[in-house]
């Protein structure tokens, strides 16, 4: 078996990379250890409205609900409402991730990519120190897949990176540990994504309610692993659910656990190798959202792979165009948001309450930095002092 490019993992980062590499003429194989693309869903299923402008997915089958905005609740339950016009970058749609992933896979296949299911990567094939492909197990059979480029799209627990001596082990303060119920028969839902903050509610993270239709919603929690104890995420989520009036008659139709990197990205290029998506930590360190990033970096990776195949140049130097371009697209924002994450972690509940109280009547349709600062100072002058590190980061970027 010989391909130009073998991609480990059939999530969005893998299939979008596959699509654009195949469209650029590369012979591409995706391997997936599971038996179905997109299943099990391991995701809160929210995605930015930015996706509307990219033309990477059509139709509406993947959309569970179009959001009108977001509500952010401070620890004392003060609500800040953000309209879709302003908040759409973070909350646009709630999707059916299984269908979403399968649609992206369909586009990859249409472009000529092949997919091999039930195929688990075991290691890299190396000849004289050069990466030459992937050793894998397909069902019970060990196989060798030769390829000029290996793409690690193997998620938060990426092994491909490690095999190429890229350190991908996450520190506990760079990982959100999560679980989520999908509930049916939820009362009084509207099309707003809700976020609940607070050290008692979700230390170093948040609880979310993402509506998936009239009476279905994803209700989940993410907490920072460094602040977690065994089983804490589920316990805190269950405690929240017990008190939530709208969930009183609701029943779960799905329960899942997940892990989200909230870290700085790692190196993403070696000779004959590229990392994309969660494997490369392409996740927003504040929101934990990664879907749009996967689409953005996947397209860049695919295009660069296409060029590499045409030029027959698979060196890290040639492939570094990918790293340069993704850094231009999302690198700056990720770095800034990582700093903001660290600052937010240091803020106490009282500060969040003051923040929410200052912003609860703010018209986010006419957002401006000066306007926000004015609103903050007017109600709680002390905030200016507390938020100094944040304002510094905002100024620098």
């Amino acid at each position: 078996m010989k391909y130009d490019c073998v991609i480990v993992g059939s999530g969005p980062a893998g299939t979008v990379t596959a699509r654009f590499a195949a469209e650029a003429g590369a012979k591409v194989l995706i391997i997936e250890r599971r038996a179905e693309v997109g299943v099990p869903v391991l995701c809160g299923e929210g995605i930015s409205r930015k996706i509307d402008n990219w033309g990477m997915i059509e139709g509406t089958r993947w959309i569970a609900g179009k959001m009108e905005g977001a509500r952010i609740y401070s620890p004392d339950k003060t609500c800040v409402t953000v309209s879709a016009k302003f908040g759409g970058d973070e909350t646009g749609y709630v999707v059916y991730r299984d269908i979403f992933d399968q649609e992206l896979a369909r586009h990859a296949v249409k472009a000529g990519a092949k997919i091999m299911m039930n195929t688990k990567a075991l290691g890299l094939i190396k000849e004289n120190g050069k990466i030459k492909g992937v050793k894998a197990k397909h069902l019970d059979e060990e196989i060798e897949i030769k390829a000029d480029i290996v793409v690690g799209a193997d998620g938060v627990d990426s092994k491909v990176g490690n095999w190429a001596s890229i350190e991908t082990t996450l520190k506990p303060n760079d990982l959100e540990t999560c679980c989520q119920y999908t509930f049916t028969n939820v009362k009084n839902l509207d099309y707003f994504c809700e976020f609940y903050l607070g050290k008692e509610i979700a230390p170093g993270g948040y609880i979310w309610i993402f509506p998936k239709g009239k009476n279905i919603a994803n209700v989940g929690i993410g907490i920072l692993a460094s602040l977690s104890e065994a089983g804490m995420a589920k316990k805190l989520l269950d405690k929240f659910i017990e008190k939530e009036e709208r969930l009183k008659d609701a029943q779960p139709i799905r329960f899942l656990a997940g892990a989200v990197p909230v870290a700085l990205p790692v190196e993403t290029v070696r000779d004959n190798l590229i990392l994309v998506g969660d494997a490369a930590r392409h996740v927003d360190p504040i929101t934990g959202g990664g879907l749009t990033h996967c689409l953005e970096v996947g397209k860049i990776a695919g295009e660069v792979i296409g060029k590499a195949v045409k030029e027959k140049n698979f060196s890290a130097e040639f492939l570094s165009e990918y790293e340069t371009r993704w850094k231009e697209a999302i690198g700056k924002k990720m770095k800034r948001n990582y700093m903001v994450k660290e600052i937010l972690l240091d803020m106490d509940d009282k500060t969040f309450n003051m923040l929410a109280d200052s912003l609860k009547d703010y018209d986010f349709d006419e957002i401006s930095t000066i306007g926000i600062v004015k609103a903050l100072v007017k109600k709680h002058p002390m905030l200016l002092m507390k938020l100094r590190p944040l304002i510094k980061v905002a100024k620098e970027s």
């Binding site: 599971r34 490690n162 990982l175 692993a225 892990a259």
Partner: protein, 62 residues
């Protein structure tokens, strides 16, 4: 007797990848979509135990 090692309750494990992502020893791997701890590599640091969102990993005496 060595130190107690982390152990995954495979009836509870939901394959979230959290423990595997944070293990500093690369001591946790997949068998049939369940996390399994390699007790030879485990250094009893308990990071995986604290990380597991549903409490599926235990280690007596940690």
């Amino acid at each position: 007797m060595g130190k107690p090692k982390a152990k995954v309750d495979e009836t509870k494990c939901l394959a979230c990848c959290g423990c595997i992502s944070v293990c500093p020893q690369d001591a946790i791997y997949w068998i049939a979509s369940k996390a399994v701890v390699d007790s030879d590599k485990c250094i009893s640091c308990a990071i995986c135990i604290r990380t597991c969102p549903i409490g599926a990993i235990s280690g007596e005496g940690f």
